[in-house]
Amino acid sequence: MYAQLVKSEGSKSRDEMTPEEIAFQDRIDRNEKIEPKEWMPEGYRKTLIRQIGQHAHSEIVGQLPEGNWITRAPTLERKAILLAKVQDEAGHGLYLYCAAETLGVSRDELLEKLHSGNMKYSSIFNYPTLTWADMGAVGWLVDGAAIMNQVPLQRTSYGPYSRAMIRICKEESFHQRQGYDIMMKMCAGTPEQKAMAQDALNRFWYPALMMFGPSDKDSVHSAQSMAWKIKMNTNDELRQKFVDQTVPQAEYLGLTVPDPDLKWNEDKGGYDFSEPDWSEFFAVIAGNGPCNAERLGARVKAWEDGAWFREGLMAHAAKAEDRARAARHAAE
């Protein structure tokens, strides 16, 4: 998902756990929230930092593909909507960074790890946004897939993460609806506009399916994360739900999902569909997608170009504090 490949711990059986670990697991099983200063296994803390960090990075890097179209939106209204949507994503990143910081990692450390390539962000943001229809496809499919994953995470065991997810989910449905609205307009437009919408779906379908992470048979260590309730569903469960939800929406638009093997399966009550090309997924995650260098480059440049500004404001704040202190002394 927004955290697609989170390294986690091997799971432990109850006899291998210390008394503290057993008490901790019991709290989670009772659906108690774990709060920042409370005792937690080191593995729980580390896995959460990786997962929340990856999630935060995805929100921030995720602004770039859509930011690409802000200056070229077809109307002033569309421009204002897209701007508001991208600003929300910045907010989501900030909520999540703060949640990660409650676990004892600093903001600078998280950013340093993103910039050096030691922490990942979702593979989906390494694809280019070539036409205006891509803004529709991103809102509809990418935010749609994000919602699928984030809704259950509202019930995650870690208090600050859960609260961040609740805030995010409240804002997310506008994102998906504005995307679908763009698709509806394009599909009701000229044949060229409809073809553009079809082309966007063709390019984003499989990358959207990859957002849920590798197939369950290949995803290592998700058992421990599920026991700790920092992962609420398996990758394949969520992917299936996403396909089942999205296919009728594509049909309504009169678009064709680019999968010749897509077929309703009455027995399982869901669609059979083709898996994405996992070798492409691993290549993109490893840094070799179409836009990896551009995306990371833009983040690093923004961080470096902003250094004088961040330092300047700190210097100003320190001076103002000194002046206030001196004034207090003089008055005494």
Binding site: E35, E38, Q87, G91, L94, R107, R310, L313, M314, E321
Partner: protein, 94 residues
Amino acid sequence: MSSEWPLWEIFIRGQHGLNHRHVGSLHAPDAEMAIRNARDVYTRRNEGVSIWVVRSNDITASSPSEKGPLYDPSNSKVYRHPTFYDIPDEIGHM
């Protein structure tokens, strides 16, 4: 020296006259910027009519390990709740 902006805890009072409520935190160089940033990060949809910002370092919190002992004394004082008292039905609502 790290130039990381300090962390602030953000409290917002919504439209309906309730108390300020903790909504999250953010980094800012000083209190004034913390309020401006809080406006952008936490009230994009009219969530509030008043913002408080407090340096996270200035907050003293009760320790989680005291959870039991700290609140124990109130457990035995059931007479603090109205349901402790039986009032005859004919008295009506009280």
